[in-house]
C-alpha cells in the first residue's frame, strides 16, 4: 500500500517536474508582457525533435543533445519573437491567442512533414536506464534524473532572479512594466532574453519528455492544456508558483490515473476550474 503511494508520488513528481520545465518560461513571459503564447509547446516540440535527430541520426550522446535542445528551443523562440510576436504586444487577448494558435498549427504540420506522425523514441545512456534502489523500493533512474535536473534548474532560476541584476530587471518588469520603463530598464530587451530562455527551457523539457511521455506532432497541443493549467493555477510570473502547481498537477494526474482510471482527465480539469474560481490570479499570482 505504502509502496504504491510512494510510487505514485514519485512518478507524479517526475511528471510534474517535466511540466514545470515546459511551463516556467510561459509563466514568466506572460507575467512580464501579458502576451498569451499558445505556441509555447511548439518550442518544446522543437527541442524534442532536435534531441531525437541528434541522438539518432547524428549519433550524439544524450547529455550533449540536451543543451542542444535548449539552444534549439531558445533559437526558434528568439526568431519568432523578433520577427513576429513583437508586433502583437499591444494586440487583444483574442488576437494573440489566434495568432499563436496559428503558429502552433503550422508547427504541428511541419513536424508531421519532416518527421512523420509516428511516436518518436530516444536513446538514453545506460546509466539512466534501469532502477535505483532506495528505502527498500526501486525507482526509475531516468525519472530520478528528471527530478534532480528540474530542481537544479528551478534553483538556478530563482538564484538568477534574486541575485543577478538581470533578474532584478525581470522582477521589476513583471511587477510593474510602466514603472520599470520609467526607471530606464530596457523592458523589451529583458523580455526578449526571458522569452528566449523560456523557449530554451521548453525545448529542454521537450527533449527530456521523449523518454517519459513520448513525442509526436500532436505534442504541441496535447500538453498545451497542462502547461496552461500550470501557468494559470501557479500564477503568472511566479517560478515558485509554477513549481508548486506543476508538482500538484503531476501528482494529481498520476494519482487519478492510478486510483480512479475511469475518471480520466476529469479530475484535473475539475481541480483547475475549482482552483481558478477560488483564486483567479493563480495560487501565487499578483492582483
Amino acid at each position: 500500500m505504502l509502496g504504491s503511494i510512494v510510487g505514485v508520488l514519485f512518478d507524479g513528481l517526475a511528471y510534474g517536474m517535466l511540466l514545470f520545465l515546459l511551463s516556467v518560461g510561459l509563466s514568466v513571459t506572460l507575467g512580464m508582457m501579458n502576451f498569451v503564447n499558445l505556441a509555447h509547446c511548439s518550442f518544446a516540440m522543437v527541442g524534442g525533435y532536435a534531441a531525437v535527430w541528434l541522438t539518432g541520426r547524428a549519433g550524439w550522446p544524450f547529455l550533449a543533445a540536451l543543451p542542444a535542445a535548449f539552444i534549439a528551443g531558445a533559437g526558434v523562440s528568439l526568431v519568432l519573437e523578433r520577427m513576429l510576436y513583437r508586433r502583437l504586444y499591444r494586440a487583444s487577448d483574442l488576437d494573440q491567442c489566434l495568432f499563436t494558435i496559428g503558429i502552433a498549427f503550422m508547427s504541428v504540420a511541419a513536424a508531421a512533414y519532416f518527421f512523420g506522425t509516428v511516436q518518436q523514441s530516444i536513446d538514453t545512456p545506460r546509466w539512466l536506464e534501469g532502477t535505483v534502489a532506495a528505502f527498500g523500493m526501486r525507482f526509475s533512474a531516468y525519472r530520478l534524473f528528471l527530478i534532480v535536473a528540474s530542481l537544479a534548474v528551478a534553483a538556478l532560476l530563482v538564484w538568477a532572479l534574486e541575485r543577478t541584476r538581470f533578474g532584478a530587471r525581470v522582477r521589476a518588469a513583471v511587477d510593474n512594466q510602466r514603472m520599470a520603463r520609467g526607471l530606464g530598464i530596457d523592458v523589451d530587451r529583458a523580455f526578449m532574453i526571458t522569452f528566449a530562455l523560456g523557449g530554451g527551457l521548453a525545448g529542454l523539457g521537450g527533449a527530456l519528455a521523449v523518454a517519459m511521455i513520448g513525442l509526436d506532432p500532436g505534442f504541441a497541443f496535447t500538453y498545451l492544456v497542462y502547461v496552461l493549467i500550470v501557468v494559470a493555477v501557479g500564477g503568472l510570473g511566479s517560478i515558485g508558483g509554477s513549481l508548486a502547481a506543476a508538482a500538484l498537477l503531476g501528482i494529481s494526474d498520476m494519482a487519478g490515473k492510478y486510483y480512479f482510471p475511469w475518471l480520466g482527465a476529469f479530475l484535473i480539469y475539475l481541480v483547475m476550474v475549482g482552483l481558478l474560481m477560488w483564486r483567479p490570479a493563480g495560487l501565487f499570482g499578483k492582483r
Binding site: L30, N34, V36, L84, R87, L88, A91, D93, L94, D95, C97, L98, F99, I101, G102, I103, A104, F105, M106, S107, V108, A109, A110, A112, Y113, T117, P217, V225, L228, I229, V231, A232, L236, W262, L263, G264, A265, F266, Y269, L270, M272, V273, L276, M277, P280, A281
Partner: protein, 320 residues
C-alpha cells in the same frame, strides 16, 4: 427630436444586400441539389458561429469552450430520440432548453473573469464536459458515439440522403435564430454588450451591471449553440464526442474571426468560406489542412483583424 430615433431606426432597417443574401440561400435547392447535405452543414455551423459572435464579437468574452453547449444540445437531441421521442421539433425545443440551463448556470461563474482566467475556465469547462461524456460511455456511447439515434420525419417529411428536408429544416431554424439574434443586437442589451466590449471599466460608472448583461447574453448564446448541436444530430442521425471537443471550439473561433466578429453576418460568411474550402480540399491530409488554417489565422490577425467583412467594410469606407 426626429434625428435621434432616426439614427437607431436606420441601424435596424434591412439593407438590400441582406435581403438578396437570404434569397440566395434558397438557390442550392435548384442550382446545386447534390450539395444540399453540405449546405445544411454550413447552415448549422453558421448558427453555431452566430451564437459565439453574440458573446465574443459583441460582448468581448473570449471562449475556448463554446462547443460545450453545442455538444449538450447534440447529445440531448440524440438521447431524446433514442429513449423517448424522435419528433424533431420537440427534440429541438428540449435541447435548446437544456443547453440554455447549462449556459445559464455556467454563466454565473464565467462572466466573473477576464483574460487568461476566462480563457482557461472556458477551456476547462469544455474539456470537463468532454471527459464526462467520454467516461459515461454507458449513456453516451463514449468514443464510439451515441448509437440508436432515430429521428422521425419532420412534419411528414423524411430526412433522406438527398438532404432536402435537412437543408430546409436547418435553413429555416438558422433564419429564425438569426432574426432573434438581430433583435438582440439592436436592442438595449445589444448596446450594453457593445459598451462592455468597448470599455468594460466605464460600465459601472454609468450604473451598469455588466455581469447581469453578460449572463443574459451568454444564456441566449448557449441556447442557440444547443439548437445548432441538436440540428446536427437530427439531420445526420449521429452524435459523436467530437461535438464537445476542443477542436470544434477552436474551429468555430477560426470561422468567426475569418468572417469578422461583431458584424452579425461574420459567422455566416466564415462558415460558408471555411466549410466550402474544407469540402474542396477534403482529400488533403488533415495535417496539411491545419497548416493552411494556421497560416490563415496568422494572416488574418496580421492583415485582416476584422475578418473578411471588416476588410470589405474598410475598403468600402476608403472608396467613399
Amino acid at each position: 427630436m426626429a434625428s435621434a430615433s432616426a439614427f437607431f431606426a436606420g441601424q435596424v432597417r434591412w439593407h438590400a444586400a441582406e435581403v438578396a443574401f437570404w434569397l440566395a440561400t434558397l438557390l442550392p435547392f435548384v442550382a446545386a441539389p447534390s450539395y444540399l447535405s453540405l449546405a445544411s452543414q454550413i447552415a448549422i455551423t453558421a448558427l453555431f458561429a452566430l451564437s459565439l459572435d453574440l458573446i465574443l464579437g459583441y460582448g468581448g468574452l473570449v471562449s475556448l469552450g463554446h462547443a460545450a453547449y453545442f455538444g449538450v444540445g447534440a447529445y440531448t437531441a440524440g438521447l431524446l430520440s433514442k429513449h423517448w421521442l424522435g419528433e424533431p421539433l420537440t427534440g429541438l425545443a428540449i435541447s435548446a432548453l437544456v443547453a440554455g440551463v447549462v449556459g445559464y448556470l455556467s454563466s454565473h461563474v464565467i462572466v466573473r473573469f477576464r483574460h487568461l482566467a476566462l480563457i482557461m475556465l472556458t477551456l476547462g469547462f469544455g474539456l470537463l464536459l468532454f471527459e464526462a461524456a467520454n467516461s459515461t460511455s454507458a449513456i453516451t456511447g463514449g468514443a464510439d458515439g451515441l448509437q440508436g439515434v432515430e429521428i422521425s420525419p419532420l412534419l411528414g417529411f423524411k430526412f433522406d440522403l438527398y438532404g432536402r428536408t435537412a437543408y430546409a429544416y436547418s435553413l429555416a431554424v438558422l433564419f429564425l435564430c438569426f432574426l432573434a439574434c438581430r433583435r438582440v443586437i439592436h436592442s438595449p442589451l445589444g448596446l450594453a454588450l457593445r459598451g462592455i466590449r468597448e470599455n468594460a471599466q466605464r460600465m459601472p460608472a454609468i450604473g451598469a451591471s455588466s455581469r447581469a448583461h453578460l449572463r443574459k447574453a451568454y444564456t441566449i448564446a448557449a441556447v442557440m449553440a444547443g439548437i445548432a448541436g441538436a440540428l446536427l444530430t437530427q439531420t445526420t442521425s449521429t452524435v459523436s464526442l467530437e461535438t464537445l471537443s476542443f477542436g470544434r471550439s477552436a474551429d468555430v473561433l477560426v470561422i468567426l474571426i475569418l468572417g469578422g466578429a461583431g458584424r452579425l453576418y461574420g459567422g455566416i460568411l466564415g462558415a460558408i468560406l471555411y466549410m466550402v474550402a474544407r469540402d474542396q480540399f477534403s482529400g488533403v491530409n488533415p495535417q496539411y489542412w491545419y497548416f493552411w488554417i494556421g497560416l490563415l489565422l496568422v494572416a488574418v490577425v496580421m492583415f485582416l483583424p476584422n475578418g473578411v467583412l471588416g476588410g470589405a467594410s474598410a475598403l468600402y469606407k476608403k472608396r467613399q
